[in-house]
Symmetry: C3
Subunit: 411 residues, 3 copies
Amino acid sequence: MTFLTTQCFLTYAGFQDVHVMIFIGFGFLMTFLQRYGFSSVGFNFLIAAFSLQWATLMQGLLHGLHDGKIAIGVESMINADFCTGSVLISFGAVLGKTSPLQLLIMAIFEVTLFAVNEFILLSLLGTRDAGGSMTIHTFGAYFGLMVTRILYRPNLDKSKHKNSSVYNSDLFAMIGTIYLWMFWPSFNSAITEHGDPQHRTAMNTYYSLAACTLSTYAMSALTAHDGKLDMVHIQNAALAGGVAAGTAGEMMLTPFGSMIVGFLAGIISVLGFKYLSPILEAKLKIQDTCGVHNLHGMPGILGAVVGAITSSVVPKEVYGNGLKKVFPDVANGVRDTSYQGAMQAASIAVTLGIALFGGLVVGFILKLPMLGAPHDNACFEDSIYWEVPGEEHHMEELTAVRTEEDEKLNS
Amino acid sequence: MTFLTTQCFLTYAGFQDVHVMIFIGFGFLMTFLQRYGFSSVGFNFLIAAFSLQWATLMQGLLHGLHDGKIAIGVESMINADFCTGSVLISFGAVLGKTSPLQLLIMAIFEVTLFAVNEFILLSLLGTRDAGGSMTIHTFGAYFGLMVTRILYRPNLDKSKHKNSSVYNSDLFAMIGTIYLWMFWPSFNSAITEHGDPQHRTAMNTYYSLAACTLSTYAMSALTAHDGKLDMVHIQNAALAGGVAAGTAGEMMLTPFGSMIVGFLAGIISVLGFKYLSPILEAKLKIQDTCGVHNLHGMPGILGAVVGAITSSVVPKEVYGNGLKKVFPDVANGVRDTSYQGAMQAASIAVTLGIALFGGLVVGFILKLPMLGAPHDNACFEDSIYWEVPGEEHHMEELTAVRTEEDEKLNS
Amino acid sequence: MTFLTTQCFLTYAGFQDVHVMIFIGFGFLMTFLQRYGFSSVGFNFLIAAFSLQWATLMQGLLHGLHDGKIAIGVESMINADFCTGSVLISFGAVLGKTSPLQLLIMAIFEVTLFAVNEFILLSLLGTRDAGGSMTIHTFGAYFGLMVTRILYRPNLDKSKHKNSSVYNSDLFAMIGTIYLWMFWPSFNSAITEHGDPQHRTAMNTYYSLAACTLSTYAMSALTAHDGKLDMVHIQNAALAGGVAAGTAGEMMLTPFGSMIVGFLAGIISVLGFKYLSPILEAKLKIQDTCGVHNLHGMPGILGAVVGAITSSVVPKEVYGNGLKKVFPDVANGVRDTSYQGAMQAASIAVTLGIALFGGLVVGFILKLPMLGAPHDNACFEDSIYWEVPGEEHHMEELTAVRTEEDEKLNS
């Protein structure tokens, strides 16, 4: 490993914004569970600190070698945080149902597959995905959904009473939501080219988020039987606008285009939480604790589709001199805009394929009994893995960790 | 709308600091109420996401047109956040007593009037108000105070037991306070000219806040019968130094001058909370939930007066080459310093006039019964508007939303 | 005082990161105590706002004079925050056992001694200590440990039941931990030279922290009898990697070198919390509330030693043109690397000497009865100094503040 010392330090402030999203944003967003706050923020911290090191190696080997050495710098730190974000999205799907050891094993494989997928998309297919609608959100969500499908627990209702929030846990979660929301423009623009493209990406994301927040509140009230707002929607769906602007944010989406995309993302996300998630759990046996399908899955695909369309339909003249920064192959005459759009669309399929297949394999690996998964009646519960103050006797009646025998009984 | 792509990206870090103040700072500052945390941070989020879009349009139409299109860029985003801050100050005055619909209606009118007042001050009168002692704080506070006066509830003591904090709600509020305090130097300097003026503004604000914090602690202990500190003072009055440095921070106030201003602001603010607010409520029927008169009203006017005096008495030679950045009209010889000071003073009257008249009209509009104001015994209560975990039965005995009949009985 | 207006504004973003660490990081890190959250975040706020003003004067007089005036600017603001950090570390040692008046007296003396020690190290000995392993962490920790030794309370077990956390207080503390962790790269690099040295410092710190987090989690689980993680370790030891990279971070430590240092720091810190702290309390009568010896004391000395070794053993050729930025005396040929290393080592002794002697004297000053130390049965308790909501009657049975008579009985 060597420092890439020639690299500009200007992106450092962007890195810090992304870093806050990864550690505070994701960490506190998941503290909404009443008895899983230590694990949410603590395992988030552990997995992230591990993944960013592993991602530096994996991404470095695949597309960061300079003279045979891994070049590290502010940009590699941002990319490592991006990859980590993907792992944390998958963590959201299995939240409360896995041991730290399972999570670390998942991170090892997921980071590696993330780097492979990223390499195929960005380097082989020439896809643009500045904010990672595909590479981060779609990949992380469907990987995690497949893992949680494989780890399906038919008797999870034994822990049902703990799979919900209390007043203060919802407030802690709002810290995560607001930080993610505020810094998402920095996230999507962190590794775009300085100047106009970065400027445009940040602002497209900003307007998408603002519009998404309004549609989220409206849909949350409209879909409730008594017009009351649901914290689950506010904490999650209001962020879907950032996910959906992840690919096209860098492109000529325009402020109004961004608002339309964000508005749609909020609607889709709330509807997903309200109507689709219960169906996925009942019919497809997908127990998605944080509803990552609604925040990252569907909005990620929406963002990828918007990116493909925008690539195809916006004439290259609109970009002027900035074309080579956003679409270098189009600027060089190697491909036309419709070909670029086709590659963007193909990337969705590649991402879904790698995510679902990877999640399948990793899910079975995580079923290995020595990895210490919690018992069905001890899910969503800190005190299996943490010294919880004033609760020395609380866990005595619970069988904390699954044994091989339990596995047989349950499966 | 079009992107102002030639604009410098350097101010982006300042924008993010301001953004954090608007969403985390204001949002969590208001979570001090024991049963109104969801609404405080959640309605803050909703109103802010709405207001910044509406402000972009209103401010753009009034003073941001380039070739007939609204130019948007990092500076317009900062200005939209500033305008949003004003709405959130007014929200503080009516906190707990209004429905989200009322708040959105209030935001529509207040943003518009803010843009008008800002246009008169900055464009017509040539007033300087970098950190918005007048445009943001004085305007937002007196607008909100007039609205809450019009919405006066004689039977608000039915909800009195909920108009107070609990231990953890005070800690959540401190998150808001500390973020506002830390980033206030960025707030006041966000749209000042790069270089010396920005440098000076940030540091004047920093020293004003530091001195204000000391006088706040001292006054809080001195005015208590048993020498104990009051969280209300710490959460609010310690910020008055930022408000009071909002106009003159950009000028040659000097570090010691800033400290004196901040020190005074802390004293005024604590005395306001302790002695003036109860009188305003008893005599003038102003029910000011967050005490915005003490944090934004009086310190805002103090800041405006300090700005008028500093404009008048500091000789233009002191600014050297920097004069044209701070006082372009004085540098061009169009006006002298005393005339500039007079314009600054006149701006206070204009701001108060527009704020009070606007608040009067908007207050009556908000009395429309279909806007769903909460009943007197359901104020300061989340569960009217939110699904609150574990509290399904809590609200049954409360009549949640005012009906027309209630209105008659109460008025 | 005069503004140093020629100074670059580029470091402002770094200043804000450091500022967040001082006010949010330290403030919330100490909220882990169940009944001392108001005091933790509130006294942290008070002491910090006071210390940064006093530090500006003291540091300015000792090494910031320009033409007989104290030059202030973004760099002086960062240095004042650094000095404040040292005071807050000492606050951690005496947390819960001192009155605000005692803390302010302590701050007056500690800031002064900090500036003296800093002057001796940086200006007289030519020591490099960019992130303050010695000047900030070692100094603050051993000063505070000596103060708490002098203020030893044999009957502190009367407040034992309050010297622990509850569920939500641990979550509030994690806000502090995560902010300190995220922004530590900015802290260590805030006043290093722009360009490569700053770049290198930030990244060395980042990798040290990442590795430290992993060893902290591993050691926390390994040293527990049942494999459970302990929040005390996670909240504190995971940060030791930042402390330990404070001196050598600026030097050619390399990413792998940084990881080794961080990994060791995490191990030492957890072992300190688990085994050394109880011994220090039982044998040496050092009641170290936050365990600052484990987070700042030992990792600070480790960092200083690593800095001395790195200075000595890395050939000056490795730095190339950057040598004069990091080791100006070595670049000028005034001293060789081994002499530089010797000065670095000597600085540890000087720092320990000043810290321990200063803590001794200040400890006795703080024993003055009129300073209002809390009674043994009222330690770790907010309600002596704060209006605590809903707890009007809670403190009646406690004798709140020590009287002279109590002193005699206890001593």
